[in-house]
Amino acid sequence: MTVTSITQPDQITRAAPSIDLHGEATPLGRLARETWKARELLVILARKDFHVRYRRAALGVLWALALPLLQSAVMAVIFARVGHIRHVGVNYAALVLTGMAPWTYFNMALASGSTAVVDNTDLSAKVYFPRALLPMTQILTSLYGYVVTLAIVLGLCPLLHTPLTLHTLLVVPGTLLLVSLVCGFVLVFSALHVYFRDVRYLVTAALMLWMYVTPIIYTASDAPGSLRTIIDVNPMTGIVDLFHYATVGHVGAMSLPLAVTAVWTVVLLGAGVALHCRYNRVFADLL
């Protein structure tokens, strides 16, 4: 009798259960709390990923920076010499480099983030943490390389007759928007990829074509009319326009494309969060 009277109040006042499952869906508030609690894990996973990605390479982290810069340089040379791109009074190399910086980040984070839940089966099938952490890890990992690349590109700009101004500070909100957009995309794709295993190939294929319908190596006004519609609904147009505006100057339409980007971001984030709330706890069944 004494024992029960002691334990009874304890049972009433004790904390909420750490695992409380009924039904497959996770309520939004709960998922948000769990994700916030796991933020340290997010940083550790991102650091691990970064180490793993570049430790083996002889030049280490340099590869992370050299490759996108090299790619941009090749693009600039080829399209300036071979392609008949009209220059609208800006330095073409600076145009390509400043456009390629956000694009390279988008490309890398989207490709690795979309497959993150499946690629980390050894983690996600063995222990619980919010699965959204896995695509988000890829966003962080790619961010290391992006920040350094962007700094180098901005450093090169004055050498390419493109002086930096106060407008250049717009790359900061530009980056935030870029990260949010990528976040929306990878949340949706990482969830879809658990079920539809061809998402991996679809994303890779889409990214290859996508770059050419984004005004990176040309300006929107140069684009042929047939491509205009695609460029207009492309969520990356606004971001690249913003980066161009921040460096080489006003070459795109910007305000309308930015609105398009914002709509995409909100819709994708909403859909991504909804998908993760619904399937977060049952992804492991299909891994």
Partner: protein
């Protein structure tokens, strides 16, 4: 006591896809619906585990016990019912989760520790103890790809047990590393348990279950059978195993090699108390009993016993080929007993009895396999428990014993006589 784990009507249904779902075909409505099968892995589990209690889950492969564990660990949600767990859960479902071979041991400890829910600070303070326990001091800054599998597993286990969770879920991990480390793991688990950690474990090592758990849930074919004391549950499990149709040889009737002579109706294991049982203690006197029916008169019959170990090898075989058991009359029921002591290490064994004709050396009837569990002594490894007695003496004593053995080998009778006495004293003293 307060509740640590509460399962109410828990069931999990898996969907097995016949075709791999493709976004391309789904979008193109190429095929309206992916073909799929649905099956319940486990259903109708009600279980409450108190704080600090140790509960085992046993059952055959595919009985749903691991699925149940993944739900308690929150890795997957139940299709029906509810799962509630209070406190921090560390699943020891496989050791070294998140280990990456390119990272050093130290880096992996941080990754693995964070995955198990530790903060950076907590890992900092436990790092030394973790490395110490894993015995990898010299290699802690070496990438784990250069680790031996033993080192790898030791480090993984060490992080898990040092994460000091409120609820520890153990799935078959005690069977890792060499025997020395297994003993260490087991001791550590006992410590963790003594500290009041709630433990749920799934294992085929019924000996470990019996030693670690206060209650055992026995599941079969996705249905909980009973929650009882380890002895009761293990015994129920073995009753099922011994009548199971999935044993190596077709159950029940056994195999008729030469028809019309004799027939084995049943084979059972009689424990120390004289009752049929499925689980016995090490060194218990036990009897493998065969109930047979003779169809012909036989002057003599040879009984052969075969005992298979957990890995399927023959641990022991013996027969009555050098003795006579007497004649058997036609149309009579006969009972044949093979009594021996279960001087065996922990594990699941199978016994089989052959009835043979002495003159022709042919098998008349072969019984079905009888499966039973031996709860061996903790310290024993290998195929048999030879019940070694250990003694400790001075170096001089040891030298004399060694000398006597050498003298015996050399056939030096003069010095040996005295020492043989000594050896006999030694064995006399150490004999059980």
């Amino acid at each position: 006591m307060t509740t640590a784990i509460e399962l109410r009507g828990v069931g999990k249904r898996f969907t097995k896809y016949v075709d791999t779902p493709m976004l391309v075909t789904a979008a193109a409505r190429f095929r309206p619906r992916t073909r799929r099968d649905k099956l319940w892995a486990i259903r109708g589990v009600d279980l409450e585990v108190e704080d600090g209690e140790s509960v085992g889950i046993i059952g055959r492969n595919g009985s749903g016990k691991s699925t149940l564990m993944t739900m308690i660990g929150g890795i997957t949600a139940p299709t029906e019912g509810s799962v509630k767990v209070w406190g921090r859960v560390a699943p020891l479902i496989s050791v070294g989760v998140g280990f990456h071979k390119e990272l050093t041991g130290r880096e992996n400890v941080y990754v693995n520790g964070s995955i198990l829910g530790l903060t950076r600070k907590q890992i900092d303070s436990r790092l030394e103890a973790i490395i110490d326990f894993a015995e990898v001091e010299e290699f802690i800054d070496t990438p784990v790809k250069f680790y031996s599998s033993g080192m790898y597993v030791r480090l993984g286990f060490s992080v898990a047990v040092h994460s000091e969770p409120d609820v520890l879920l153990v799935d078959e991990v005690l069977a890792v590393g060499d025997i020395g480390f297994q003993v260490k793991c087991f001791e550590r688990m006992q410590e963790v348990r003594a500290r009041g950690t709630t433990i749920v474990m799934v294992s085929h090592n019924l000996g470990a279950i019996q030693r670690m758990c206060e209650r055992v849930l026995f599941v079969n074919d996705g249905t909980p059978q009973l929650v009882a004391s380890p002895d009761e549950a293990i015994s129920a499990f073995h009753r099922l195993m011994s009548t199971s149709t999935e044993t190596v040889v077709d159950a029940g009737s056994g195999k008729r090699m030469e028809p019309g002579v004799v027939r084995i109706d049943d084979i059972e294991l009689i424990g120390k108390g004289g009752e049929p049982t499925g689980a016995v203690e090490a060194s218990d006197p036990i009897v493998v009993r065969v109930h047979a029916h003779a169809l012909q008169d036989m002057d003599d019959i040879v009984v052969k016993l075969l005992l298979f170990g957990p890995d399927g090898t023959v641990v022991y075989g013996d027969s009555t080929a050098d003795q006579s058991l007497g004649s058997v009359r036609a149309d009579s029921d006969i009972t044949c007993d093979a009594a021996f002591r279960a001087t065996l290490p922990t594990g699941t064994y199978s016994a089989m009895v052959h009835l043979e004709r002495p003159d022709l050396r042919t098998t008349l009837f072969q019984s079905s396999l009888l499966s039973f569990f031996v709860n061996g002594r903790n310290t024993v490894a290998g195929q048999a428990d030879l019940e070694a007695r250990f003694t400790l003496g001075s170096a001089a004593d040891r030298h004399r014993h060694l000398q006597s053995l050498t003298n015996l080998a050399d056939g030096d009778g003069r010095g040996a006589g005295e020492d043989v006495d000594d050896l006999e004293t030694l064995f006399g003293r150490t004999r059980r």
